[in-house]
């Protein structure tokens, strides 16, 4: 084993989109590990770092590959000496030095040889261009001309150093070398370094290589800025991560804006600052938005305050725009805008938003009737829900659709139930996010999503694979989440069958991945007939709780056995004839069932699934005894059929909550 050498690879690129850097490093790691594997190197510790302008990989590698023994199989021995000679000649060795190997197919000529390990530097020089080329990007570009290499942005320099020697290769007009580059303005264009001082030299040249260090620099900087001000940072992890990968040397600064802008809705101010300007927002001691913000520069210091001033000016311009939109938009009521929706297309084949509005209004009212609740506020909300699409503010800040509608509705004196519903109509925005807090909001969101789903399905726009342009999966997830968490006992069975299946699929995902139910619990409950998803949830909770008891576990295995036995017979009935009983154990089971099942039935109808399943679990001794002492396959057909009916009675009853035979028990999983 030769000594190891430090290896450093730096790919210098024009500014890579911030959100692609971490995935690119993961891909680089994967491709490099493949290189290690293929060349017989131990997978070693690989350190990866990225900034907007560089992807860096560092590790230790042996100077050369180990020599290795190789066996080359030749012709079968029965092919004769002529074949052996040919094989030897092709491999440039004397026929005498061939060995004979015994394989399952017979005796074969073979040659053993030592393959000399190659220089690691050579191997890297061969492999690195391919690794660079293979890095996958969401959207790549040409820069040296049509048909040439594509990459996320132009590659401008490459450092590849093994020990103190350059791994020489070239790609797209760039040759690898030993010199790195600093920050665009705070660093040199050529930086000499060695493996011991790389990060230090970069830092002197305005580049903090480690993302963790950049993150900490932003966080510490903010703390320092806020010390003693009474201001509180509104945390925004996504924004923080964006800034970490938008900068090579981040420094936060504190800016301010005129207090009069606080008259605008906080939602608008916050969206402009966070989404459009990438500023953190700040609250005062009472938790209200303060007229301050934190911008993050890609440089060390703002000595003359010019950066602060520039950012303040652009923010003021944006707020001015927002105020203009706010005032402009309020000159027409949402009600007046309803007619305008005729010229806003929902989807080319599905008509306008006005048509959608009419459908959703009707649907809200139908859902209200089905649930037996007064939906008049929600119907009103549905009528004006989409009108904010015609406002200047939403055209400019599209992420505020719904929210703006709600704010305008409030300003125009719509009742709380109405404007809140409009405000919340796009919730939940993800599986983790909350559903609308108001009942009207839930109804509106539900009706809107069901309408979108049903309309799209009706013209065959059904998501497949990763293709889901209308985000129908998210809509369906929203439906599931609102139904369950809003406790809306709405039957979804009446939907078109493919949509019902689609929703069921999302329900599976929700209960399993979001709520943590086991897949067998889900299978058991979904196999039983359930009226709605709230009911499914109640059964799942009951099953999860009861299955942990010892009796239940054993009973579940018995149910599997019962299911198997019954599967092999023609549809059994449930008309048990007591006079046909022969063994005491079947008489006893029947007695127990007659006692327990009516009680179970009542509890089930009341929705008390936990107690119902506990009641069932008391049957375990009787069931066990039955299987110990009774031969179901009695010779006499009548007796046999009576026994099957007895088991079937039990199965049919209990399966009305959950198909217990679906439960994986320790005995069945072995």
């Amino acid at each position: 084993m030769s000594d190891t050498l430090p290896f450093l690879f730096e790919l210098g690129v024009e500014e890579i989109p911030h959100w692609m850097i971490e995935p690119a490093l993961a891909d680089l790691d994967r491709l490099f590990q493949q290189f290690l594997n293929q060349n017989g190197f131990q997978a070693g510790a690989v350190r990866l770092d990225g900034t907007p302008r560089r992807l860096v990989l560092r590790t230790e590698l042996p100077e050369r590959q180990e020599d290795r023994r190789e066996v080359v199989m030749g012709p079968p021995q029965k092919a004769g000496p002529g074949a052996a000679q040919g094989f030897a000649r092709r491999n440039n060795i004397a026929v005498e030095s061939l060995a004979v190997e015994t394989t399952p197919k017979g005796e074969y000529y073979a040659l053993h040889r030592t393959v000399t390990g190659r220089d690691t530097r050579e191997l890297l020089a061969d492999a690195l261009p391919a690794i660079i080329t293979k890095l996958p990007w969401p959207k790549a570009m040409y820069w040296t001309g049509k048909g040439q290499l594509t990459f996320i942005r132009p590659i401008r320099w490459i450092v590849a150093l093994l020990g103190d020697q350059v791994v020489e290769f070239g790609i797209a007009d760039v040759k690898s070398g030993a010199l790195s580059r600093g920050h665009r303005r705070m660093g040199a264009d050529e930086i000499a370094f060695d493996h011991t001082n790389y990060e230090e030299r970069l830092e002197k040249n305005g580049v903090i290589l480690s993302a963790a260090k950049r993150r900490k620099r932003i966080q510490d900087g903010i703390k320092k800025l806020l010390r003693g001000t009474g201001l509180k940072l509104v945390a925004d992890d996504a924004l923080l991560s964006d800034l970490v990968y938008l900068t090579e040397f981040p420094t936060p600064i504190l800016g301010e804006f005129r207090e009069e802008f606080l008259e605008l809705p906080a939602e608008v101010l916050s969206t402009v600052m966070r989404h459009h300007q990438r500023y953190f927002t700040l609250n005062d001691a009472e938790g209200k938005m303060a007229p301050r913000f934190i911008a993050t520069m890609n440089m060390k210091a703002d000595r003359k305050g010019l950066v602060k001033k520039g950012n303040e000016r652009v923010l003021e311009a944006r707020f001015n725009d927002a105020r203009f939109f706010w005032e402009q938009d309020l000159q027409r009521t949402l009600e007046q805008r309803v007619a305008d929706l005729a010229s806003v297309t929902f989807q080319a084949r599905l008509g306008s938003y006005l048509e959608k509005t009419t459908r959703v209004e009707r649907r809200v009212s139908e859902i209200g009737t089905a649930l037996g609740i007064d939906a008049s506020f929600a119907v009103r909300a549905a009528r004006i829900a989409k009108t904010d699409l015609t406002t200047e503010m939403v055209k400019e800040l599209t992420e505020l659709q719904g929210v703006m509608g709600g704010l305008y509705a409030r300003k125009q004196g719509e009742p709380d139930e109405v404007w809140q519903a409009v405000y919340e109509q796009y919730q939940p925005v993800s599986m983790e996010a909350p559903i609308p807090a108001s009942k009207s909001g839930q109804l509106l969101s539900l009706a809107d999503k069901l309408d979108t789903l049903e309309s799209c399905f009706s013209i065959g726009m059904i998501p497949s694979g990763s293709r889901d342009p209308f985000a129908l999966r998210r809509a369906a997830q929203g439906v599931v989440k609102i139904l369950v968490e809003g406790r809306l006992r709405l039957a979804v069975k009446d939907l078109r069958p493919d949509l019902y299946e689609f929703l069921l699929d999302r329900a599976r995902y929700y209960f399993k991945d979001v709520r943590g139910f086991a897949y067998d619990e889900l299978n058991a409950v979904l196999a039983a007939q359930s009226s709605d998803l709230v009911d499914v949830e109640a059964r799942l909770i009951a099953l999860k709780q009861v299955r942990q008891t010892e009796n239940f576990e054993a009973l579940a295995s018995s149910f599997k056995r019962i299911r198997n036995i019954l599967r092999q017979t023609n549809a059994p009935g449930i008309g048990v004839n007591e006079s046909l009983f022969e063994a005491p154990a079947e008489r006893e089971l029947h007695l127990q069932l007659s006692k327990v099942l009516p009680h179970f039935q009542k509890l089930r109808v009341d929705g008390d699934y936990i107690r119902a399943l506990f009641a069932v679990s008391t049957l375990r001794p009787a069931v066990d005894a039955f299987f110990d002492q009774v031969l179901v396959n009695a010779p006499l057909q009548e007796v046999r059929s009576n026994r099957l009916d007895l088991l079937n009675w039990l199965l049919v009853q209990v399966s009305s909550i959950a198909e217990l035979s679906e439960i994986v028990t320790s005995s069945t999983s072995e």
Partner: protein
């Protein structure tokens, strides 16, 4: 402090020094400097070309009657095309900022992903918006496709928003307060125009007439494209002298007329897609024909009379 026009002079001089043809604005209404033939047609094909020009860019829907300090119906872009993009194009760009007096040691500069796409031109590119102290001052794009045609040489397109950049340089909160030349503000020069065109674009433009214009320009452009396509192998001479540039002017007229109709609220979202498709078809038609004509001209250039 430099005036509006001095900054423009400096930028032009900077790019002239780096080998650009300095062109004057194109004299057909366009929504962006990219649409001028100096960009749209010149980026096609294998011939290198570098050019810079100020292009007044008209976006009727952005008009605000001169009442909004930062929004204009007609703003000025300084458009730079470097075909092919040199390897140091980013450095050149930074130098150009220094050339107009921005001390980059004292200002924050970020390149944020912003890919550019023009559905009406069948064109797209990859690039950034350049943020200077949080203000977008330039759109930097590596062109990939134009008129539906893959580009042989990848040009860099730098589009400076002049009002925004110069308001920044002059530290003005309203573009109308920019000093155009000593003693005369941007407002003095342009406010009336913003007001009158806002009134026209939003209130007075005759929708029926605009639709007619759109149809006429479309028909004329299409007629020329079809005629070019109809020329056979023996008609190289006719192909070489064919007025594709005139056809393209009619495409630009279509595009501007479409923008006027849009500002007038006369185009529903459904129709919008359709009209964009019509204009794109023409743009692609001209670009394809242009490629063919260029191939002929490159093989045997038109002789210039002595």
């Amino acid at each position: 402090m430099d005036t509006f026009q001095q900054t423009i002079f400096k930028l032009k001089q900077f790019w002239a020094k780096h080998g650009c043809v300095i062109q004057e604005p194109y004299d057909v209404e366009v929504g962006a400097g990219t649409m001028c033939p100096e960009t749209f047609l010149r980026v096609l094909g294998p011939k290198p070309y570098s050019v810079a020009y100020v292009q007044p860019s008209r976006r009727p829907a952005d008009g605000r009657y001169g009442e909004n300090p930062n929004r204009l119906y007609k703003h000025s872009q300084l458009q730079v095309i470097l075909k092919p993009a040199p390897a140091n194009v980013m450095d050149l760009y930074l130098e150009s900022l220094a050339a107009v007096g921005i001390n980059l040691d004292q200002h924050d500069l970020k390149f944020e992903e912003d890919n550019w796409e023009s559905p009406t031109l069948g064109a797209w590119g990859i690039g950034w918006q350049v943020m200077l102290d949080g203000i977008e001052v330039t759109q930097f794009t590596y062109f990939q496709q134009c008129g539906g045609v893959d580009l042989d040489l990848v040009p860099a397109e730098l589009t400076y928003g002049l009002e925004r950049l110069i308001a920044f340089l002059q530290d003005r909160k309203s573009v109308y307060d920019i000093e155009w030349v000593e003693g005369r503000s941007y407002g003095d020069v342009r406010l009336l125009e913003e007001q009158q065109f806002s009134v026209y674009n939003f209130e007075k433009a005759d929708v029926k007439m605009l639709w007619t214009l759109l149809d006429l320009h479309e028909a004329e452009a299409q007629r020329l494209i079809d005629e070019f396509k109809g020329l056979g192998d023996g008609q190289e001479h006719d192909k070489r002298r064919f007025p594709l540039l005139a056809a393209y002017d009619h495409v630009l007229n279509c595009s501007h007329t479409f923008n006027l109709l849009d500002a007038r609220g006369a185009i529903s979202v459904t129709e919008r897609v359709g009209v964009i498709g019509r204009v794109r078809k023409l743009a692609v038609g001209v670009a394809t024909a242009w490629m063919e004509q260029q191939a002929l001209l490159n093989a045997a250039p038109v002789e210039v009379a002595q």
